[in-house]
Symmetry: C2
Subunit: 150 residues, 2 copies
């Protein structure tokens, strides 16, 4: 636990909402740090991984750059260049969309699917570290975060 974690608990005079704000940002950063260990092994950035996951969700259909952008965790990403990197590693293909020549069809390759499978295995192991909440509690946080954003 970092010192911020301690600090969050001590901010008695702050509103619960301020605490929640910082707590969520801090927890996300903590998760990112942990995940990066796995990503780095495969020379992927979190965003590249995120893109591949979305593309797998569409497979065997293609996804447009815009669809990717909409579904990315980080909306500000420059998807074109992320695709460039993935294409350079043969993890995706990119070809013009037939029905709308402005669009581009991005599809995950077998190599990309295989890489995700490998990472899946590691993720399953890694996620076991995160079971300090009961499934019920995890569900509860999920529901409350959804409600918060609504």
């Amino acid at each position: 636990m970092g010192s911020i974690g301690e600090e969050i608990k001590q901010m008695e005079f702050w509103s619960e909402y301020s605490k929640l704000l910082i707590n969520v940002l801090y927890t996300a950063s903590w998760l990112n740090g942990l995940q990066n260990g796995i990503f780095k092994e495969h020379k992927l950035t979190p965003q590249q991984y995120n893109s591949l996951r979305i593309l797998r969700g569409q497979y065997p259909e293609a996804a447009s750059v815009n669809l990717l952008k909409d579904r990315m965790i980080d909306k500000m990403s420059n998807v074109s260049r992320i695709i460039d990197k993935l294409k350079a590693k043969d993890l995706v293909t990119r070809r013009p969309c037939k029905h709308d020549r402005r669009q581009v069809d991005v599809t995950i390759t077998d190599k990309g699917l295989k890489l995700l499978e490998t990472i899946d295995e590691q993720m399953v192991e890694w996620e076991k570290q995160l079971h300090s909440l009961s499934p019920k509690e995890a569900t509860q946080v999920n529901e409350l975060l959804d409600k918060w954003r609504s």
Copy 2:
């Protein structure tokens, strides 16, 4: 609500922990996006803001670069350069520490304190948008996130 938010709810076959992982990352990105609006007005990055907040917490004491690093939400930040930027705007001072000449004493200036006060006001207004949870629910999420990280 972005499409990921919808998607999270639909991932019925995933473990609650996977959902929670993505949900926290997504919520943090959502919050960052909202906050950036305020920061940009004042030409601050989230990390510069974070540093200023920590320095205000220490005021009128100084903070070492290491103390800042430990308390930053994002641990990977290069604090030296963040301080450079803040110093260039006269929001902090930097002077050698007397007791340990390796260390540097970083202190928030009056200008920095004043800037934070301005931002505080905006934040209070902004945070009102985040009251779709009851205080009790906010407390609950805070407790559960703390437990999750432990």
